[in-house]
């Protein structure tokens, strides 16, 4: 793609996405206010944390305005530069950052902190969009696929080193982006297959079942398929390769699970897989979260009436577990409306991505949709006990400046790209 200067504003910023965006910010703000309010707080007064969020929101609007009214958007030109800066910041935070709840991922200035990993997502998306826009995924076969992978696996690895597992996991979203960009389907199939293998191995480990059963079943399955396709030498080769890789993977998962994971991490995983019942320790948070959402019933307990969230039974009630406040205070009706807004936004972003004339724009759109989607799946999944408790924020809703600003930046850069599409 040529270097181009977007200076035409022939169409408008997509108002549907902007509407959803404002809705989410608003829901987030009132939920934060409620979750952090004191008992019997007046309906129209704000808690100190809510006021802080208001400042973040004001900052977000400044970002929105500066993107919308910047006449020159040279975003794809500087894509690699942003990426380099993001990588550098994330490495720097390892040495200069302060530790917050076990993760060394914050630059702190007094009471305000900035989390560079939040901004790494958009930088990675830009770099990936730029790369694919230039070469396409299959341009040079596996070499390009490898580079694509490296673009998002590098920041992911650095963030893992920061010990921020949740944020690192989000980078898996780029798999989905690559899928749209002609990533061979079997790679995704393989990913699903390996996930199934992992779960099986963990379950047998937790239940103390000998790994020989697993190997036996793999061998049996492979033999049967080989017998079935014995005429086709190519398929037989692939199956044998898959079987060997699977066995290896199966062994590695077992070793990692037993030797590398910390006991508390094992607990979390086992809890989610239903291998463990525990309402005191690790399970306490999950149980309290479910109580909070469940207490909402159909119509909710009413604004500022959510005792589970307000009284701190739910951990991180205004950040990672903000969804509990929505569930408790607005009930099933509120949750449904919220999910419709969020998924509506996701689908709208996919539609916008599809109407892009450039691969750059499309990849950027799909990156946005995928990252938002993975955040949503993990964040809400953890509050309702479908996914291990992994601390990542709910985009636009959770308290926090870094997350809000980074997503706002991401969203409006894409909307601006969409606005000036050909």
């Amino acid at each position: 793609m040529d270097i181009r200067i977007y200076n035409k504003t022939t169409s408008k910023i997509d108002s549907i996405v902007v509407f959803f965006y404002i809705c989410l910010i608003f829901i987030g703000f009132i939920s934060i206010n409620s979750a952090t309010s004191v008992v019997n707080q007046k309906l129209y007064s704000f808690s100190p944390i809510a006021i802080k969020q208001l400042i973040w929101i004001a900052g977000a609007f400044i970002i929105v305005l500066s993107i919308v009214f910047s006449n020159i958007v040279v975003i794809d030109y500087f894509a690699y530069g942003f990426y380099a800066i993001a990588i550098a910041l994330n490495v720097a935070v390892l040495f200069l950052g302060k530790e917050v709840s076990g993760a060394k991922s914050w630059f702190g200035y007094g009471g305000i902190g900035i989390q560079p990993s939040e901004f790494a997502k958009i930088a990675t998306a830009l770099a990936l969009a730029k790369f694919l826009g230039t070469y396409g995924i299959r341009f040079q076969g596996f070499k390009n696929i490898f580079i694509c992978f490296m673009i998002f696996l590098l920041p992911m690895a650095i963030i893992l080193i920061q010990n921020d597992t949740g944020s690192a996991l989000v980078f898996m979203a780029f798999f989905l982006v690559l899928y749209r960009e002609d990533l061979p389907g079997f790679i995704l199939l393989a990913a699903v297959w390996f996930l199934v293998l992992s779960i099986l191995r963990i379950m047998s480990e937790a239940n103390g079942i000998s790994s020989f059963y697993g190997y036996g079943i793999l061998l049996g399955l492979a033999s049967m398929v080989v017998l079935f396709f014995r005429k086709d030498k190519e398929i037989v080769k692939i199956i044998i390769l898959v079987a060997v890789l699977s066995s290896l993977f199966y062994t590695v998962v077992g070793t990692v699970y037993q030797q590398i994971l910390q006991p508390y991490q094992r607990d979390r995983i086992e809890l989610i897989l239903g291998l463990k019942e525990d309402n005191k320790g690790v399970g306490f948070n999950l149980q309290q979260s479910k109580i909070a959402i469940g207490a909402g019933e159909f119509w909710g307990r009413g604004y500022m009436q959510g005792s589970q969230t307000k009284m701190g039974f739910v951990p991180a009630q205004h950040t990672d577990f903000i969804f509990d406040t929505i569930g408790e205070e607005w009930g099933f009706v509120g949750v449904l409306i919220f999910l419709l807004i969020f998924f509506g936004m996701l689908i709208r972003v996919v539609i916008l991505a599809e109407r892009q004339s450039t691969i750059f724009g499309r990849v950027l759109g799909y990156s946005l949709a995928s990252v938002l989607f993975v955040h949503l799946v993990i964040n809400i999944g953890m509050t309702i006990g479908l996914i291990p408790v992994i601390g990542i924020p709910l985009p636009f809703v959770s308290f926090g400046g870094s997350s809000l600003w980074a997503f706002t930046l991401f969203l409006f850069i894409f909307l601006r790209v969409d606005q000036v599409r050909k």
């Binding site: 008992v39 009284m311 599809e354």
Partner: protein
């Protein structure tokens, strides 16, 4: 480039799939069967019990007898205790490490039990009844004891220690006391004996509740304003007893050094004026921290200070019973004012002799009471039970028994105390078992003079005096006159029913004339009377198989329009006239002329200072 355009639908499908899965999962949580809302409320609400003050209890003149004071407990939220400064706790409470552990486990168990019962109150008392010193130290150091807090409740303070057996003492419940109702939590105080027990439901008041929000660390986060969750405690209503404190204290002084009881009743109402036992105990040692140690000591005391003789002790009434026997004789038509019987220093009947003291000449009815002639009453008794109109002694005895029971004997009088004894009036069946089927009047002749199987409580003896004073009727004796705000509830219904004896009121005249002679020259209690007060009395000297005779006296005064009926029992006191009569007469004097000093200072001094081993 557009070859993979269809893959956008895989995305959309994935979104919709996740949307459906999550929506269903959330619907299951929010609309499913698990009562999450209840669990949330249980989490966040803490109901703090507001303990009401127990009733203030007054005497009949409005003098305060018992009132409520603050008492402090050290309570805990067991789940909030993460680390514990055991040393600090030990030094403040003066207990050792093992005790701390024990108390902690115990409180935790109680708290868990409460939680299981879905109680909103998650705290439990760790150490009750803090002393003033402990309270002061704890208040300073409570911030160092995470999970601990000081709770206040009310305890008792007695402004008189003379009415311990009437008022009763409090104790702590160990378990929710289902015997009364499910009002109590372990550690709550409730009345164990006396008025405190009998009127527990009124006296305790009504507990209040203050509901507060609490967070995950059980820290209070503000009040719940919903009135449904808050109601104030209601103090127990003022209770007015019928007792007279001044008289109680005076009686206690007189009974000093002697075992026995004094009971006095206002005849026209059945109100108990005096209710004293000796030995008794100092109620102010039965409060606060010392309660349980004092209680154990009192329980083991060989003097049995907790024993409520006045309603539980049973004694043969001795000669005091002759008044009743005379009335029954008149009612049965075998005796009248002019009936005379001789006495040769005793009553001989075959092999049995009932002794009598030396006195001159044959006596009429009035004289028989004055002199207390045994022979006279042996004859009267035989005339009653062997009355030819019944033909059979058992029918004759049954008639006597019926009359006796109409005096409230052989059954509970229904006083407002628990554990009242019935005493004993032997039935025909009981006599059959005791003496075989073929007993005769001579077999049971000792009943005539209030000995043998007949047993009365001091309260019953006093009630007989009240019946004599009323000439034939009584109200069930009772200790409580009035409960503020309960006048319409009918709690005192049974104390408003006039109970009649089977004796015609006209028959009382001669017997009472006889009784009015008792304290005069020639009477058995000569010299104990009080000038200007016409006391009608009867002495009794109850033979006691276990030791010296009991000194017994019943009396009422004045003769016309009586104001007080009294019974005094002094165990092992010997003659009724020696101890019981002076005590009773001094009490009568004190009641009728409360402002004056006694006209018999020597007698008073002798009684006060005498000790009977």
């Amino acid at each position: 480039m557009e070859t993979r355009k269809n893959r956008q639908f895989v995305y959309i499908a994935l979104f919709i799939l996740i949307f459906l899965v999550y929506t269903l999962r959330i619907a299951h949580i929010q609309l499913g069967p698990v009562p999450y809302k209840k669990m949330a409320i249980h989490n966040a609400l803490n109901k703090i019990t507001l303990y009401p003050s127990r009733s203030n209890i007054f005497d009949r003149k409005g003098k305060l007898m018992v009132y409520s004071t603050q008492m402090y407990d050290l309570s805990i939220f067991p789940h909030q205790i993460t680390s514990l400064d055991t040393g600090l706790l030990c030094s403040i409470l003066e207990i050792n490490f093992q005790q701390v552990r024990f108390l902690l486990d115990d409180a935790t168990i109680r708290s868990n039990k409460r939680q299981k019962n879905n109680s909103y109150n998650k705290s439990a008392i760790f150490y009750s009844n803090l002393s003033n010193g402990q309270f002061a130290l704890l208040r300073e150091n409570i911030y160092r004891l995470k999970g601990f807090f000081i709770e206040s409740r009310t305890d008792r303070q007695f402004s008189t220690i003379s009415a311990s057996h009437a008022l009763g003492y409090l104790g702590e419940t160990k378990e929710p006391n289902a015997e009364i109702d499910n009002y109590y939590q372990a550690g709550d105080l409730l009345g164990i004996t006396g008025i405190e027990r009998f009127y527990e439901k009124q006296i305790r008041g009504i507990k209040g509740v203050k509901t507060v929000w609490q967070d995950r660390t059980y820290a209070e986060r503000g009040a719940v304003h919903d009135t449904q969750f808050n109601y104030p405690s209601v103090a127990g209503p003022d209770v007015t007893t019928s007792l007279d404190i001044d008289l109680q204290e005076y009686g206690r002084l007189l009974l000093n050094g002697k075992r026995g009881s004094i009971v006095a009743i206002e005849p026209k109402t059945g109100e108990v004026l005096v209710f004293i036992n000796n030995p008794d105990y100092d109620q102010n040692t039965m409060i606060g921290k010392e309660r349980s140690t004092t209680f154990k000591a009192l329980l083991l005391d060989p003097q049995k200070p907790l024993y409520n003789r006045a309603v539980k002790g049973t004694y043969p009434p001795g000669s005091t019973f002759k008044t009743v026997m005379a009335l029954i004789g008149i009612q049965e038509g075998v005796l009248n004012a002019t009936t005379t019987h001789g006495c040769g220093g005793g009553y001989r009947l075959g092999s049995i002799t009932v002794g009598c003291h030396a006195h001159g000449g044959p006596l009429d009815l009035r004289g028989s009471i004055r002199i207390s002639c045994n022979s006279y009453y042996c004859q009267v008794f035989r005339d009653i039970v062997d009355n030819p109109k019944y033909g059979d002694i058992k029918l004759g005895y049954a008639a006597l028994e019926k009359h006796l029971r109409s005096f409230g004997l052989g059954r509970q009088l229904g006083i407002d105390l628990l554990g009242e004894s019935k005493g004993n009036i032997p039935s025909v069946g009981q006599l059959n078992r005791r003496h075989g089927e073929r007993w005769k009047s001579s077999t049971i002749i000792s009943l005539s003079i209030g000995q043998g199987e007949i047993l009365l409580t001091p309260l019953q003896i006093c009630n007989v005096a009240a019946i004599l004073a009323n000439r034939g009727w009584y109200y069930s004796p009772h200790l409580v006159k009035k409960i503020e705000g309960y006048s319409d509830t009918g709690w005192d219904r049974k104390y408003k029913i006039k109970q009649f004896t089977t004796i015609n009121p006209l028959h009382f005249v001669t017997v009472i004339d006889g009784m009015s002679d008792v304290t005069k020259p020639g009477g058995t209690a000569n010299g104990t009377g009080i000038a200007d007060i016409e006391i009608c009395a009867k002495t009794g000297t109850a033979q006691n198989p276990h030791g010296r005779d009991h000194s017994i006296f019943l009396a009422f005064a004045p003769k016309d329009n009586p104001k007080i009926a009294i019974a005094v029992v002094v165990e092992n006191g010997g003659f009724g006239a020696t101890w019981a009569a002076p005590i009773a007469n001094l009490m009568i004097e004190k009641y009728i002329r409360p402002s004056l000093i006694t006209s018999k200072p020597d007698m008073e001094e002798r009684i006060k200072t005498s000790v009977i081993k």
